[in-house]
């Protein structure tokens, strides 16, 4: 009888305990699921970034194969921007620009920017006429003229044509929350075919 009385004097303790436990467990589970969702969103965002870099790398590698003459002929203004947002099929010497789609990552847009780059080279010219007793393997016989900081100017003015083109590839996309993102890379192509 004593034991029966003791049980009946604590009615509902087990139920209350289970409710509290369930509440704690629910809160913990919700937190865990939120965490997993956060990680999943982050992974998708990273995946889009990886895809954008993949497209960027592809376009830059293709642009490196385009000759200086071809690029120079395409520059109608400084800079010339080749853009075709939302549409596919446009290409510049085999380098696609405009819409680029990628399965499970969405849509991206690629812009190509071309511009001539002015450069000026300074040289301290070797002067063979002043090199008394010149011997190609004896540097003490070498004579140099004074340094000329603007020895070779390529700025597109008369008689000084451009020799360098700067090109930029831009890959743009929009995140599901509406935030616009982009990645860019820059390189140069040079006129190595000119008569020197």
């Amino acid at each position: 009888m004593a034991s029966i009385r003791l049980r009946s004097s604590n009615p509902g303790v087990t139920l209350l305990e289970i409710i509290c436990a369930f509440l704690i467990f629910t809160i913990a589970t919700l937190g865990a699921s939120g965490l997993i969702s956060f990680g999943h969103r982050g992974t998708q965002k990273d995946f889009r970034m990886v895809v954008a870099m993949d497209i960027l790398s592809d376009r830059m590698n293709r642009l490196m194969l385009v000759s200086y003459a071809s690029m120079s002929a395409a520059i109608t203004a400084e800079p010339t921007v080749l853009t075709n947002d939302g549409s596919a099929g446009a290409a510049f010497w085999g380098v696609p620009y405009g819409l680029a789609t990628y399965s499970r990552a969405g849509s991206f847009n690629v812009d190509l920017t071309l511009r001539h780059q002015a450069v000026t080279f300074g040289v301290q010219p070797f002067n063979i006429m002043s090199s008394v007793g010149y011997a190609s393997g004896t540097p003490t016989t070498f004579a140099f003229d004074s340094f000329e900081p603007q020895y070779y100017i390529c700025d597109g003015t008369a008689g000084r044509p451009y020799q360098v083109i700067k090109y930029i590839a831009t890959v743009k996309w929009t995140e599901p929350n509406g935030v616009a993102r982009s990645v860019q890379a820059v390189s140069f192509t040079v006129n190595l075919q000119g008569a020197f």
């Binding site: 004593a2 034991s3 003791l6 049980r7 604590n10 303790v13 305990e17 509290c20 436990a21 369930f22 704690i24 467990f25 809160i27 913990a28 589970t29 937190g31 865990a32 965490l35 997993i36 990680g39 982050g42 990273d46 970034m49 990886v50 870099m53 960027l56 790398s57 830059m60 002015a118 450069v119 000026t120 080279f121 300074g122 040289v123 301290q124 010219p125 070797f126 063979i128 010149y134 190609s136 393997g137 540097p139 003490t140 140099f144 340094f147 070779y152 020799q163 360098v164 930029i168 990645v183 860019q184 890379a185 820059v186 390189s187 140069f188 192509t189 040079v190 006129n191 190595l192 020197f196």
Partner: protein, 167 residues
């Protein structure tokens, strides 16, 4: 007395068990977050590396242009420098490389980096000649060091160069 003792021993066990579960979830969650936070910066670093690769490739082209335009000046300046002569300072080779803010050394036309809009912090360029006397040929090494963000990348581009006597 026996039933009373059994009940006292079992009381609150559900909460203890669920707390253990919750703690386990917390530990797993924090480990997951830590993994996530350490993997996230990989992408920007990969982008910086790609940008540095492309930029260095372009700078090596500009360096090639200068070499191709002034081969005799370069050869003599290089041999003069390698002989350790200091009768002309800065040496003709240092002049050939150029000072800061020239096309081969951290050029900043109009105050902006040559790599703009890519945030190139600094870059520098220098050459090495590797001679193969047995074949009367040289290899020109163009070295480009680029720093973008926190990464520093060094590149070596090697090109074959024929050598022809001036006289």
């Amino acid at each position: 007395m026996t039933p009373f003792r059994r009940q006292a021993r079992n009381a609150g066990m559900a909460i203890v068990i669920v707390l253990v579960f919750a703690f386990t979830l917390l530990v797993l969650g924090s480990a997951y977050l830590k993994t996530f936070s350490t993997t996230k910066p990989v992408n920007p670093k990969m982008l910086e590396r790609l940008q540095a690769d492309c930029f260095a490739q372009g700078i090596s082209q500009i360096a090639m242009l200068k070499f191709k335009r002034f081969p005799a000046d370069f050869y003599h300046a290089y041999i003069h420098h390698r002989a350790g002569l200091r009768n002309i300072l800065p040496t003709p080779l240092e002049r050939f490389y150029g000072a800061a803010n020239t096309p081969l050394q951290d050029f900043r036309p109009g105050g902006a980096s040559l790599g703009d809009p890519v945030p190139v912090a600094t870059y520098s360029t220098w050459y090495n000649m590797i001679s193969y006397h047995g074949y009367n040929r040289d290899a020109l090494e163009i070295n480009v060091a680029v720093r973008i963000g926190a990464i520093q990348q060094n590149y070596v581009f090697t090109v074959d160069a024929s050598r022809t006597r001036l006289l």
